[in-house]
Symmetry: C2
DNA sequence: GTCTATATTATGATAGAC
DNA sequence: GTCTATCATAATATAGAC
């Protein structure tokens, strides 16, 4: 691996990082490639060079997020001997998911914004990454229903969005939470207490 | 009230309506005044005439939302004789809030996006409208804690965001829910079942 | 009250020098 | 692999005619 390759990867990584910041806070339409380039400390023409277009840069950001999410989540298996009962497993899964959003609020913000508008990007995201974010949610909710931990007569999609919304929003809304409630969702202690509140509320 | 005044109000109303649509789906930065004007069926120069700037148009949209929300919510009082016990009151309040978001998903989308980014708009929103959206949430959560319906040791802000996220997200994420799960959060029957699921999950 | 015309800036994209 | 220069378009905003 020569210097050229290392430089290339460093440039791409810094662009991807700045792009995630821009896209997640301003949305796709509000983000500008020049701002992204400025944030990455590179010339704006390099974005076109490395990623061809704004749309493809966005896809690269999303793909990287999903790749990283799977390993970062470290979701336990319900069969794990460490979990005495379904409730313990359910709560632990909620905790891990919540902690992931706490560490990656930009991921939450980007996903949330893309859920608001139908179009090519949403279609691509579902088409390309459904297996990685829909299936896991569905399996988890079904597990909870099977063991009577959530209302069994509730529609699947409703439960998915209730759990997702409850789990993500506090961390995604960090700037508002800080300014309005004087609480910082990036603070370790705040995270710990929030995660416990979540586990107790969602899996009583 | 002469024709001039009526025309003026009709123009402003159509601009406000189109602006809510734009701002809520693309965010402030992604929205363009020209698209708003096109959506309202008026010349784009009229936006400057009636609202001075994009920023002030946005403020007018937000102010109208908060005005309308208060009456539309029709929140019950805990002292109302119709509520036999705190649980019944808590669940009914959840239902009314959820139904409000079901009817006004654009409001939810706009608020959510503004929670993601600190800055002048967020500061103005909190400064100007705190009483109307923070205080009610706080009072409701305190009521639930007082009666042991939610974890009493949980931080106030955590509970506010858990309830808000759970209540809003399904409706705000309508386009994604439709495309990914084949469920339309604008459908009457879907709303009814979702609202019941929410009431059961949040106030067990 | 409404519209045309225009100033100014920002954006996505590209060609070509080094 | 990187940067300068440039294009075409779209944005906010404004001036001034009707």
């Amino acid at each position: 691996m020569n210097a050229r390759v290392r430089q290339r990867e460093a440039t791409q990584a810094s662009i991807l990082k700045a792009a995630l910041q821009e896209f997640s806070s301003k949305g796709f339409d509000g983000a500008s490639t020049r701002e992204i380039a400025a944030g990455a400390g590179v010339h704006h023409a390099l974005i076109k060079y490395h990623f061809k277009s704004k749309e493809l840069l966005w896809r690269a950001v999303v793909a990287e997020l999903f790749d990283q999410e799977m390993e970062a989540l470290e979701l336990p298996s319900p069969d794990d001997a460490a979990f005495a009962d379904p409730r313990t497993y359910g709560r632990e899964t909620i905790r891990r998911r919540a902690r992931y959003w706490a560490r990656n609020p930009e991921h939450a913000r980007l996903m949330v914004q893309e859920a608001f508008r139908d179009g090519d990007r949403l279609a691509w995201m579902i088409e390309e990454h459904r297996a990685r974010f829909g299936d896991a949610d569905e399996a988890f909710v079904r597990f909870l229903q099977t063991h009577g931990l959530v209302p069994v007569n509730a529609p699947l999609a409703s439960l998915v969005y209730i759990i997702l919304g409850a789990t993500q929003f506090f961390f995604a809304a960090g700037p508002q939470a800080k300014r309005m409630w004087g609480v910082d969702p990036a603070d370790r202690e705040v995270i710990d207490r929030h995660v416990e509140s979540l586990a107790q509320m969602l899996i009583p």
